[in-house]
Point group: D2
Chain length 478, copies 4
């Protein structure tokens, strides 16, 4: 719907007034044209109105929105509930086709455009923040774990005889289950413990490769973003190893796009070695609701193998979220989120160090982790182990989410594999600790509030501890 070739009668509006209005609209049309033709992220964000207009324009290209549609198939993207149609801007057909996420759908030109434009903008974003060698990437409407599984499945098609996945230990369930879900055999490579800090054990990787034989190994599998005091894996060295041994290398970059350090390492690792896929969640890196992951690669043809492993047509809802968010932020908006996160990380670290110092604790050195921080809980825990876990629950009840308390002695078995001291990414943890993160979107106000609450809880636990020297510890109440 547009005013081109319409002779609006002067009875409705004087022509000179109208012309001024039409002129003002031309810049909107220009940015729309540029977006479609250049497929680049706009520098500054679009207004809500402009975003919704774009999205509705795209949706109207899908056959379920044709005024005179006649649907004789088994899938016609009919939407029974008007509210549901509205919240999806009338998109119903999903993305991809016949088991290829990147294929176009004849019934749904708009959904096709939506999915591909979104992928193009993500690529432009990813390149812009430092991954300039990135050859392509696309959004998968599944969580990071399932998307890692998808990558493993498509690697298996290339290496059908291989069954082992060499995996640098990180105590996060999903990325481990990604291996077993694919029916593959994880080989856990423990981290090296330097002080309390955890680093990739390259030598152990080498030994395992020698031991198992290259042919039986599907790939090397590393992780960047993680909870302190574990550090980002040494992906540069693993990439070199991958290149030497011709073993594929899969990187779990869960929330690594938000950290410049990690992005830099990824780019460099690819230059000096080999990375087949790096996978990240859309929610943590782009601040959309949970539900999608982004597969990136430095080799475009590798991507198609993953895309064509998805068996069926997929939800377009995640593409819609990402497209709207990227247009809303623009490149500048995203850059400033990244910048603020980095600044808040330093602020959080400084505050945490002050907090630790005054209480006889220490912020564990994990210099290759620029998102998460760990503070020891040695003093508060000396004689009352229970109080440590209580600390976590006290924080939670006071509105603090995401602060994790890790205590020694938690053993967990996942799909038959036993993890001693689960949560600490290592065996033989001695001192309990608490982790906090400066993730994308965090505000300085939140950090301040956190220390206010943390201080109060600490104080209360200290008192309880002193009191408990003579009597039984009472339950903390809120």
């Amino acid at each position: 719907m547009n005013f081109d070739h319409i002779n609006v009668p002067g009875k409705l509006v004087p022509d000179n007034y109208l012309q001024l209005g039409l002129a003002a609209q031309r810049s909107k049309q220009r940015s729309f044209k540029e977006l479609l033709e250049k497929r680049k992220l706009p520098e500054t964000g679009w207004s809500d109105e402009q975003i919704e207009e774009l999205v509705l324009q795209l949706a109207s290209l899908d056959s379920n929105n044709f005024p005179h549609k006649v649907g004789l198939g088994e899938r016609e993207a009919r939407i029974a509930c008007k509210l549901v149609a509205r919240r999806h801007y009338n998109f119903g057909h999903g993305i991809g086709r016949s088991g290829d996420l990147l294929e176009a759908q004849p019934k749904a030109a708009g959904s096709t455009l939506l999915a591909r434009l979104t992928n193009a903008l993500i690529l432009d974003l990813v390149r812009g923040i430092g991954l300039s060698s990135c050859a392509g990437c696309f959004l998968v409407p599944m969580c990071t774990g399932m998307t890692l599984t998808l990558c493993l499945q498509s690697l298996r098609k290339r290496r059908p005889g291989a069954k082992y996945v060499l995996w640098s230990r990180i105590d996060q369930k999903s990325c481990f289950k990604a291996i077993t879900a694919a029916g593959l055999e994880p080989v856990i490579i423990p981290c090296q413990v330097n002080g309390e800090s955890l680093h990739t054990d390259i030598n152990l990787f080498r030994e395992k490769i020698a031991l198992l034989g290259v042919e039986s190994i599907l790939c090397l599998y590393t992780t960047t973003s993680c909870f302190a005091p574990r550090n980002c894996d040494d992906i540069a060295e693993i990439s070199k190893l991958s290149l030497q041994t011709q073993l594929p290398h899969l990187v779990n970059n869960a929330y690594g796009l938000q950290a410049k350090d990690i992005v830099r390492q990824l780019e460099r690792a690819n230059q000096i070695g080999r990375i087949d896929y790096f996978v990240q969640s859309s929610d943590k890196n782009l601040l959309v609701p949970v539900g999608g992951a982004i597969v990136g690669s430095f080799n475009e043809s590798l991507l198609h193998e993953v895309a064509s492993s998805y068996a069926g047509r997929a939800s377009g809802s995640q593409s819609l979220d990402v497209l709207m968010t990227l247009l809303s932020l623009g490149r500048n908006g995203f850059q400033s989120l990244i910048q603020q996160r980095a600044e808040n990380f330093i602020y959080l670290r400084d505050c945490l160090e002050k907090f630790a110092e005054s209480r006889g604790e220490v912020v564990i050195d994990s210099r290759y982790n620029s998102i998460s921080l760990a503070i020891t809980l040695g003093t508060i825990a000396v004689d009352e182990k229970e109080s440590i876990t209580q600390l976590g629950s006290m924080l939670h009840m006071r509105g603090v989410s995401g602060a994790r308390v890790v205590v020694p002695g938690q053993t967990k078995t996942i799909d038959g594999h036993k993890f001693v001291d689960f949560g600490s990414h290592r065996n033989a943890l001695k001192v309990p600790y608490l982790t906090v993160a400066s993730a994308l979107g965090i505000t300085r106000e939140e950090i301040d509030k956190f220390f206010d609450i943390f201080g109060k809880c600490w104080h209360q636990l200290s008192q309880n501890k002193n009191e408990s020297k003579t009597k039984t510890l009472p339950k903390a109440t809120d």
Copy 2:
């Protein structure tokens, strides 16, 4: 936000007027209470306002919507774009936890409620339409194909040594790729051709089991809803075979919930035999946007194995769509959709038979298919094969979607497996045909329009054919 314990001053509104308003709201509260406590689908649909109020109430239980939240974790469900937050009613945390789709999330009581309530309503619906033995079911935010893969993956955990999947041929890519995606080996069991109608070849299943050995076989894999002239697989007989051999049985029930015949067969097959999982798409059966599938089972503990194979936290968007749709329709609304579909199937078949008769064609007998119908295209195609595929494109350009033209001679290779006469579910197809379906939501008006357009296209092709006897066939234009 509610008026309980609020003394609304008479200066704002006279108390007797207010009381009348409050009384009227009580029925809304009653239906809310009943929904949560009984977890049953309401008989009549809810109003849009009531649905949105429920959904917003649930979302406000998630920590990202707490007024005084302090987020120190790596995932805090922050949503950057207001429009995105709005279209998700502020849900951001997704569903499931740590790689189990059915687990509760401490940060997200509302999302947990959303997911579980949706599953409860689906179960109530499924039982109500005839699957009274169904023990449980849950929504997976992935397409049907990927969900079938998930089921295969969880079966593999039970039977790690088995690698073959015995699959009754159906020419639909996704359900086949579901096998290869899981890294398993498909064993294709061709259908028996009786007349032009296709039926499950039970004996061949038996032979293959004997040949390969039960231990090496992961499961039997059948399909209910499909394009004519293939019929619904004989799931009763396969179920008996499954019970005898103790081989798991997986049913691809893609759009079978909408057809009473299929539902009846599923229920009966389970009574006399064994079905481990039956999987169906949410979009085709519940008229929501593409993106979800429902796994059902007659054994609740089997479901948990599938749910815990999903590696990560999943999108809640599909649960939201299904919940809103089910509440909007109510049981009566859904029943009447099913009823209309059944009536429209009969209407479509009758019209198609009349159309066929007057043109020397025939509607192929596929009596065990109550959704899709096939009409031969023998006369129009005798000397001009090209005109058949042209028919498909002519229909498409005139707004008809979903009518498929199948011609002999299309060979396709999927993941290394060759399918002769792809699209026809069989080898050695002789007569081309066209399929049409009466799927959920179709209207009589659409059927009438279709025959109007079909007739015109047929007429044009007939003329072209006659003309082409003397000269070269011109391109049909629209």
Copy 3:
């Protein structure tokens, strides 16, 4: 935002798929062009999506929505609350200018278009339902009463020396206060009572004109739609009188557009006599929220006098409501509402007659009222007057709104004028009665429910009455 002159890259979507989508959009563009160029109500209603797109297109022509606006004035249509902007589709400038509701605004081409297009569609509607001589009409964003005042004020500019308004009595406050609000002097002409039915007393009008003198009289003022047993005023005769005496004639046609009888009389009255303005509410006739009125005239220049009496710029919210509603209904939708109303009136009358007959009551003959009906409450009231008013409250508490109970003896003084038996439009009412109406949008289901409730209340009152013969009447409870 549109796809013209944009080279969408094949990488985003295959061109043939795109073309199909674009072709489907052309019909939308055609209807948009036709609407603006012909300014006629579409035959069939538009979809919600199309309506919103139109409205947003218009809004984007207003200067407050220009991307690079620089506002240095005192009124720049800034909107502080995003929710408010959204619900007004970003319209902020209102309509009219410098005290003329029909003038264009240089800052707001879109709002100007909105207002004028709405007026054009109303005119087309009004002509289409039978007022073919109507020369123009426009929406005033004030209630009917204030709009009647506005008409009186503009008549006064023409006849500054006149102060009396001759008004056929109807017991509705607003239309009477419309006279006093303008600082004019009402002269009340009681109705003739024939049986219990009320008719315009033409002779008394004549006598008053003779008595007061034409020069001192501003206008004759009649009412069409009203509560039974008052009938529609005899506007044909009053129009003739108006023509003879050269006195202006103002018609309060509050909810008369919905009734064919009234529309027919208006058209005829103008042909044989004189009507200056007829005024109707937008909410009752077009089913929009309360807040607007429509002034119609058979003489276009008279309209401008009214429009230019509005001192200031007005709300555009009512125009938006009416435009959206008219486009949503289309001519057919509105016609079918009118048709249903007429049928439901007959149904309501028949039910009411049956109800009356079986209870010894009567439906009062008011044949020139085709909307409202009155049933006597003679038997129920014989010895317990209180029970009559109780009936009204019982109905109200059971969800019945709009049923009015009228009892003798209510005297009311409005702006110094005393109305005996207020509510009955007459003095000396003897038998109490209840009125019900078949207004636009009523459903047969509502009528059935009403009689169900009415019957129960009647029964309860009858019992109370019988019981009260021996003891004190208890309070009815719900």
Copy 4:
């Protein structure tokens, strides 16, 4: 809909997770309770979600939203178009009753609450910004001009014999037409010209009162906010005069609530004299769409006279806008808007003075105007008068709205009254000038952009002027 008295089964969500969610909701309920019980503006703004929940809760108290309503009246607030219902949050009944804007409606407890709560919050706001003696105020859903008419009409009821309104000249059409619309006789009191600055001529007021006699005068009528170089009327002195003569005093405070100076003067004027009503627009002072005005008074009973002069039921749309906006801003949000405006005024004045100085012009001294500023256009106009008006159009075409060019020699007649040099508020204007305003919501960025554009236009006109000394002036193009 709320969780009270609902036993949410543990199967849906673990109770401890749920409790955390419920606890977080309590603060929302507390602020709701406080709002209704105390009827005070919240200090900090509410979230969009909270506002919408409140509004929907209120709407559900209206009978048109009752689930089992049975509507037998002529006005049942049926809304035909779902989009319209949605944008009004299902409010349909409007506000007020039977010609009294402040009365409650039995059918619409929610609309009643909406209207009265809005008025209460406005009063709290007005008092908070300095009008602490204000006794009451209410929102009228008509423009400022019509609301001034309404005030005049209700004053006339008190003083039926009076017909003159003594009005200090200001060249704004609506406030003048407000007098004639009411059928009253304006008596124009020219301003005193000191330098180029315009002040109220108190002595002339006194003389006119003596001349016409108090009995024949309805009221004194002044204006606060206006375009420079006119100043705010000396309302303190006029108020004293009003008190002395016992003549009512009506103040047109169009956009005066945004300026602390004006607010202070109003409060003081009432303390030392008499103000009956002060009227302001809701759009300019509260940043809502055009359509409403606020009547304030220092005497509550006077307000009821105005409210009961409104003949009919009124639109609730304006109340909804104001309520949502006030809740969204909170007291702090509004205060900070006021603060920014004041700072931007100083910034605008400083920039304008610099601009003037460097070009041989002057910012006219109008020290009692703290919103609008005027800069002379003496040099640019010396020999080419046309170029001045051209300047206005050049600015307009470059996106500047609200900058007004005033040139000598424009005569205008409104309702029979002739205004020489219309636009300048005076006779015998010599030097043309341009006015700009720092109104609520203006940004520093806009001011900077304005001077950028203004400078360029000035430069172009200067060049044209120089060139035109030798040849004909060419048309400026954009």
